[in-house]
Amino acid sequence: MRLISTDKTLSHLEKRVLHYAEEMGRTLPEIRFFILDGIEFASLLEKHVYPTSPVNIWEGKRMVTKKFRIESGQESSLYYEVVQTGNPSYAYLNNTNSPMIQATVMAHVVGHCEFSELNVLQDSNPDRTEYVMYLVKKVNAGQHQMGEKHYLTYWNACESVIPLIAPHSQYNLEHSVEGDLPPQPEKIVPKVEEETSREFFRPFSHTMDSLLKYQDSENAWEIDRQKRDRREQISRTGYRLYRPCQDILGFLRTFSPTSAAEKAILDYMYVSHSKHDFVVRTQIMNEGWAMYWEKKIMLELFKEKAVNGIIDYAKIFSGVCAPRPFFMRNPYHLGYHLWNHIEELYRTGKVTLDYIEEKDVEAREKWDRKSDLDPLECMKHLVKTTTDYEFLRRFLTEELVFEFHLNRIFKKQAEMYGISKDAVVKEDNYFIWLDPKMVKDEMLSFFTHFNKPRIYIVDTEFIDGGLLLYHRNDGRALRKSWIEPTLKNINFIWKSAASLVSGNKLYTYSNRKFEEKEIAETSFEEVLERMDSNKKPFTL
């Protein structure tokens, strides 16, 4: 690994890329570029794009497999771009790439870094990479305290909980638990233009309030009891779960009884993996934004002849932005074209009430009313206010589904998947086209479950002070043989019983015993309602 400053050509390209980014008014953090060789790159990816990681067998296994695949020619060690955003951001270049590709990577990274700075989920935070490196040191120090065997056992148990991270869920830690929550990492809050708000004077009077407020004296004792219970639980445990919590690793990291060394492992796992939640919620916008600015910057570089090979670039670009059906979605393709489409919409004044209310088809088609708004500023505003779900819901029309070939599938593929003829709206000798509305609905539904089971903590004092997890039923059963080992691992971390409700079954792992019981099936809404009314979600 070496600094980009050790390579004269790349250093020059970096300056030119950043120059154009600045000229185009991009909001960027400090970006530090490094040059890596192929194996270093593979290793970096296995460390979740951080330069160091604590010892663990999973990374070892992946690297051994990857090295074998690279050495036997089954896999290329070439990677397009790898960046860890934050302030500063760390971007890594592969030493085997040509200068033109390196410039492309740098320009692409510019897009990602800006997106991370501006987005509504506030992904960027100061010194993220440095913080992870600090956590790695803490874990390594803790490893000596724990002893190698316990360390590896605890690590392996934590691996089971990694998919249960949801920092941006509406049921995240912040919105489910009250009490002594740890301070959140500092966020870089984007500067949103202040809207002129009008001050209203509100009538205020204690006397009037108490006279007008309806008092149900029969429930007064109940309300009082609930308040006391709440205060009592917070003072006893330090927290109170008042809604289901989907951020299970976040919860365990904060509230499970741990030694300092165990806490360091949980912290490292949470911090190094929580970025995936941001990625999965914004991937289309993010990659599209990066491709959009990459192309703009690259065209400037070609113009000033800082790099050569525009034909090669065109080939690479079209390869990266190749269309795919919706179920194999290509975020580069979809995002890039959607951003271009949105720019065009703003440029021609189509994101206006007048356009929406226009009934005349011909007038709509010829619509081109210049607006005072700068399209780029409007796009920036979108980045600051939306995620992929809203982005697609608002801008992906049925016409665009056709235009981007999202609903086009090879006939043979359709036969293989057993797609019914009712879903097909068009076909030729090679392809079939699915109903675009269905495709859009399917794409949007991905953002409710992300193809993962939705599991929540719904009770922290279930059996012997144990955790109760709830699997929100979406018609698919959990892989049964993995329930026991996963609960066993959660039990090991929580150091008390761990139970899971899935459908009409209650699974419990406690005291080295696994039990399965039949219970009445309860919907998520019922669980919510019970928790809202301060009742236990499940009682035995």
């Binding site: 690994m1 490094f34 691996e159 089971s160 089971p453 959990l478 892989r479 049964k480 080992p485």
Partner: protein
Amino acid sequence: MQEDRISSNESEGAFNDFIEDTVEDAIEEIINEGDLDTLGDRGSEIIIEMDDIVPPTFSYGDEGEGGGKGGRKPGTEGGKLVFNLPFNRFMELLAEKLRLPNLKKEGKGKIKEVSYEFKTFGPTGVILDKKRTFKRALRSSIGMGKYDPARGKYTVDFMRRDRRYKIPVRVENPKYKAVVFYMGDISYSTHGQRLEMEKRLVNFIKNWLDYNYGVRNVEHRFFVHDVKAYEVQEQEFYRVGNIGGTRAFIAFDLIYQVAFNEYDINSTNFYAFYFGDGEVFGNDSKEIAGILRESIMPVFNRVGILEVLPSQWSKLVLDLSKDFVKNKIIRLSKIHRKSDTINAIKTLFQEV
């Protein structure tokens, strides 16, 4: 960032340690069950197949074959991890588990095995070491100011004095030679379980001696007998059969003659293993005890006499045990079932 290089070496090491532990467990299992069928051809790598490991999580998906066993240990997804274990490493682990000592080798220093290793480097030679040459050339070029990136100079001159060649060094290792005689009684029926047991043992002995002496230095010879004794090919050792009278002494006499007449008894390590049902007649046992004590024991490193699935009339081991109690050379054992295999191996090769 302080790191000079991003590497996963430590994690790879942890994974390899995990695999090593798993292999040891597999060997433990092999030993407990007496199942030595894993051993392939002479000196070939052992292919170990184990369930792939994955951390169990709450997930959708079909049930895999293995299905998440493990809890805090890694689970399995039904996939397989396949890797090769070098023959020597496998035997080393097996010996460690069975607490088998290295065999004493005789003939040290008499015959040398010569090989060449490239351990040193010099200015003349045939095989150019490109890496070392380039390093020296680069150093010289920097010293002479021809290579100076700060000033845009990138020339690296290769001069004769910078060349570095690999120089072969003659390495002499003492060469040990061993001959192993396998004797089989063909007057009893060797098929089914009995044949399997015999094959398993012969296979282990072959591999163990190959491991100790080196595959190329061991000669394995097979002899069978009923009332006559003669040499056969390995494949025939298990095939030939004859029901009738038997006399084991002649087999011991034959291998002694072969050892004495065909090999230099001062520089050769002799091993002999006898397999039979132990049913001997007349004074066969006495004659065997006599030849063992007088002729074979002074020359041979180890002699093993094994009764495979002995019957109530088997008495060879019983008779010989009176003469050879805790003997360093002569080892006696009986195999009644598959799980006795390991005990038999221990009896044959452990120190007394």
